[in-house]
Amino acid sequence: MSFSEFLYMGGYGFYVWSSWGLFFLVVFGNLIYTQSFYRRTLRETRNFLKRSRNKS
């Protein structure tokens, strides 16, 4: 099978590749988003602790 045939997917290329694209987008997008959410929370928590230490 040639590469263009592979992309064509027997005429269903659009449906097959959008489905797989969405799958990878959701799975890896979620990982990247959650990692940045964690980093942001870590930063905010550090700032919170610094502020409360300065107050006391």
Binding site: Y12, Y15, V16, W20, N30, L31, T34, T41
Partner: protein
């Protein structure tokens, strides 16, 4: 018996779980990526379907997504129930943290389903039992997220969310049996009878591998979310101060 109880209490303490999950996450994500690579390879080397042609390759993402949408819902409801009954903070957070992950998989199942429906049924959407009950599942997840954000007190919010999640469990068997109870465009289940699968082994194997990959992915991403939520909710506690103090603020 006493030791088991002690072990349980240690594991569900926020401080210990934060440490433990930090160690486990790279393993879950790493194994997930390896298994996923096998699944993708298998999905595109499997033979072509004699009825649906190449379009059936959507099944390798659609079925795992739909399966995850229900698995995560059940996990969320069980965690919510445990939190509700025993007031375990980690269980409450687990329930709340599951919702956005489950919602993402539900949306993915609906989207890949309609991308499969268009070439096979000639339409992106029909209001039949399987599709409608899966859409209701998405609304339940969105309801859980919205309800949690609407209540300021984390503990009270988690309790309200647990009750909503438990009521919504009734939808899970409806989704599962919808293809048997009502006449529908949706094809019958591929996997409900593992002893006599309705799929050729060369197609079934990559499908099962994709499902295993997603099942390993779930605790990885869930623990990442839980860690962030634990930090935020426990920021006044001694263990967070100790942890972040040692890292040098």
């Amino acid at each position: 018996m006493n030791r088991i109880v002690q072990f349980f209490h240690k594991t569900v303490s926020p401080e210990y779980f934060y440490w433990l999950s930090g160690k486990l996450i790279p393993w879950f994500i790493g194994i997930f990526v390896v298994v996923l690579a096998f699944g993708v390879w298998g999905a595109f080397t499997a033979p072509t379907d004699y009825q649906q042609g190449e379009s059936y390759r959507i099944i390798f993402v659609h079925v795992p997504a739909a399966y995850m949408s229900m698995l995560i819902y059940v996990c969320m409801a069980v965690a919510g129930f445990i939190g509700l009954v025993w007031h375990i903070k980690l269980a409450e957070i687990t329930a709340v943290a599951s919702a956005p992950i489950g919602a993402a998989f539900t949306a993915l199942a609906l989207a890949t389903g309609s991308l499969w429906g268009k070439p096979m049924w000639g339409t992106y959407w029909v209001w039949d039992a399987r599709l409608t009950s899966e859409l209701i599942l998405l609304f339940l997840y969105i309801g859980v997220i919205a309800l949690y954000n609407a209540i300021d007190d984390h503990r009270k919010a988690a309790r309200a969310v647990a009750i909503l999640a438990l009521v919504g469990v009734v939808n899970i068997p409806i989704i599962h049996f919808s293809v048997e109870w009502w006449s529908t465009l949706h094809q019958p289940a591929t996997l409900s009878k593992l002893d006599q699968p309705s799929m050729h082994p060369d197609m079934l194997r990559p499908l099962l591998i994709m499902i295993v990959a997603c099942t390993i992915y779930f605790p990885g991403i869930l623990f990442m979310r839980i860690r962030a939520m634990l930090l935020r909710q426990e920021r006044r506690s001694r263990w967070v101060a100790r942890l972040l103090g040692e890292e040098g603020t």
